[in-house]
């Protein structure tokens, strides 16, 4: 039956043909196997489809900003990005007041707010994330590690709404009494709360990076007479730095995009200021707080989807860089992890 499978190598081409064992006769796989396997492939492509659909459908809702006359009458890209002299203001300012008699869609208060919260969270999360990764991978005894590591990973499992709740109800009060903040909810409280969500990301990847450093590096350094701290600072850290950088990049992506924590603990006041003790309003919190109350298809709705597109593109870029760094590190260190 499977004539073409049996097709022998022509005897003239090989002198050893006679020495070969007889070919195994296998029934060909049923046709439906091929169909199912093709189906697997299609399903696997769904991740690609999902990313594409996400971009297409949020950009689609933001697109009228560029062509719709009715919306451009209210808001244009220039009005969003450049300071405007609004009636009642003494000088040109970027103001976010989407629900007022004259809707104002200046994005800078939101971008500055996002940056402030992100800076605070990264300033806390990087030292604590990398530090605890260093401890767990280099100093902790195996038994300690088996307890500490899952516990820190458990921190990653805390829903962000619970962290937001904790920041809003508990941390904000403490911080106010410690530092005397004028506004209870501000960039510091939300940034520190956000860092609790970011630390496990940085920890996991840094710990993996530390442990992926070949033993021979450490041994060589020790053999040259370096003390342990010298080995860690001059050998281990540089060798693990791509992995740490990847962890920091993914943590940064998480910090910029995280919504519930900042929505609940940042105070949500769109203010342009350099003071970290002021209330802030981030891009993500703005979308979450305002989208439920807008009319579909109106200027405000369109602008919120535009902000969403910005957020998507920013995190996409950061994650791509982070992911690329991880891959390169794994290839370089021979996939030790």
């Amino acid at each position: 039956m499977p004539a073409e499978r049996r097709k022998p190598t022509s005897s003239t081409t090989s002198r050893f043909a006679a020495a070969r064992p007889p070919r195994l006769e296998l029934a060909p796989a049923p046709k439906w196997h091929a169909i199912v396997e093709w189906g697997l492939r299609v399903l696997a492509a769904s991740a690609v489809l999902a990313i594409a659909l996400i971009l297409i459908f949020i950009a689609k809702e933001a697109a009228p900003l560029f062509y719709s006359g009715a919306i451009r009458h209210e808001v244009t890209l220039a009005k969003m990005w450049f300071s405007q002299l609004w009636p009642g203001y003494d000088e040109a300012a970027s103001v976010w007041q989407p629900v007022s008699e004259i809707p104002k869609f200046g994005v800078w208060p939101l971008i500055i707010g996002t940056l402030k919260v992100t800076i605070v969270s990264m300033a806390v999360a990087v030292p604590f994330g990398v530090g605890s990764a260093l401890y767990v991978s280099q100093y902790a005894k195996p038994r300690t590690r088996e307890i500490v590591k899952p516990l820190i990973e458990l921190l990653a499992g805390i829903p962000s709404v619970v962290l937001g709740f904790f920041a809003l109800i508990v941390m904000a009060t403490w911080f106010q009494s410690w530092f005397g903040f004028e506004s209870r909810l501000n960039a510091v409280v939300s940034g520190v709360a956000l860092s609790i969500a970011v630390i496990p990301v940085i920890f996991t990847l840094s710990e993996e990076a530390f442990r992926a450093v070949p033993r021979s590096y450490v041994e060589a350094s020790t053999a040259l007479g370096a003390a342990r701290w010298q080995t860690i600072l001059r050998v281990l850290l540089p060798a693990a730095s791509p992995g740490i950088a990847a962890g920091v990049a993914l943590g940064l992506g998480r910090a910029i995009g995280e919504t519930m924590i900042v929505l609940m603990a940042s105070g949500n006041a769109a203010i342009v200021s350099a003071n970290f003790a002021d209330s802030v309003r981030t891009i993500s919190a703005t979308i979450a707080a305002e989208l439920a109350e807008v009319v579909f298809g109106e200027a405000h709705y369109t602008v919120l989807f535009f902000l969403g597109t910005l957020l998507f593109l920013a995190t996409f870029a950061i994650n791509t860089v982070g992911d690329w760094t991880i891959r390169r590190m794994k290839a370089k260190l021979g996939g030790a992890s």
């Binding site: 796989a29 696997a44 100093y139 820190i152 709404v161 109800i169 519930m260 979450a288 579909f296 992911d323």
Partner: protein, 323 residues
């Protein structure tokens, strides 16, 4: 003018002294390094314990069986969270049914079939990694723009003569949005489990004359089932805790009744926490309920996460892989 070399100077240290100084400074450096890194780990653990302690201490008092089986009463200042629990279970079940098969299929394709260097393979891997990093609020926008406004409104146009049935926030759209969000979780866990299945098993199966597909279905996937379970548990835990993706796709502040079908809105403990914490007119009156809701949510996610850790540890031990 004296020559530099002839100037009087401190007596040279003996070599023994130099060794002593160096040992001391190295000891100091080592101690500082160990202490500071240990301090970092300690603080991180302290934060975890602090949150747990605060939530348990304040949440336990109001927790009871009736809290889990009653609906909210008197403007959410009394009663329980029964509708929220039911809503969450329904949403998570739908999400699992929709998302896990796709995630498992993707992982099976990536690990068992895909040629490592093919463009499609690389594209899928990049997509999965990026999908995991998309902010949850963007998933919310996507769910609204795609599922509610496009798919839902399309269904209404075709089947309901334009009446709003599916073209509005609903259980099914929230569940599907969450299924997309948790897809990377399932894929990553499944692929790790597939990687742990020994080559020999596949080869033995192929050598017995099984086709590739039979090998995958009857040997590889069953061997990896614990890992697939891990992915499922983690996905459920994530789905139960996320709020931002369901803000505009189906979650309701308050419903006097349970969800009636796929097209009705629903309550869920995670969104309930947000509502109680920020929208309540009487913060002090809702506080005990708020804490108890947080406790329920936290207990649920911790139990799920610990279960996942235990299952994964078992898988790793069995496969003898070092991670």
């Amino acid at each position: 003018m004296t020559v530099a070399g002839s100037a009087p100077r401190a007596p040279r240290r003996t070599s023994a002294q130099r060794v002593l100084v160096r040992t001391m400074s190295n000891r100091l450096g080592d101690a500082a390094m160990a202490l500071s890194s240990g301090f970092a780990a300690l603080v991180v653990l302290a934060i975890l314990l602090l949150i747990l302690f605060d939530v348990v201490r304040n949440g336990v008092s109001h927790l009871s069986i009736t809290f889990l089986t009653e609906a909210p009463k008197e403007g959410m200042t009394a009663g329980g969270i029964f509708p929220a629990i039911v809503g969450m279970v329904e949403m998570v079940l739908l999400m699992t049914v929709a998302g896990v098969p796709v995630g498992v299929a993707t992982a099976v394709y990536l690990h068992e079939y895909a040629p490592a260097e093919a463009r499609l393979t690389r594209l899928i891997r990049i997509a999965v990694a990026n999908l995991a990093g998309v902010p949850s609020i963007v998933f919310g926008l996507f769910g609204l723009g795609f599922f509610v406004q496009f798919v839902g409104a399309g269904i209404d146009k075709v089947f309901f003569h334009g009446d709003k049935v599916y073209g509005q926030p609903a259980l099914i759209w929230a569940a599907l949005t969450m299924a997309v969000l948790t897809l990377p979780v399932v894929i990553v866990a499944t692929e790790e489990a597939l990687r742990a299945v020994p080559r020999e098993l596949r080869e033995a199966s192929l050598a017995l004359g099984a086709t590739k597909f039979q090998t995958v279905m009857h040997v590889v996937v069953p061997q990896a089932s614990a890992g697939i379970l891990t992915g499922m548990i983690l996905a459920v835990s994530r789905g139960a805790g996320e709020v931002a993706p369901i803000l505009f796709t189906g979650a309701a502040y308050f419903l006097p009744h349970l969800p009636k079908g796929l097209s009705s809105q629903f309550m869920t403990p995670s969104y309930h926490v947000y509502v109680l914490a920020t929208q309540s007119p009487d913060v002090d009156a809702t506080k005990p309920i708020l804490y108890s809701t947080v406790l329920v949510l936290l207990a649920l996610t911790f139990i799920l996460n610990i279960a996942a850790i235990v299952v994964r540890a078992r898988v790793r031990r069995q496969s003898g892989l070092q991670h």
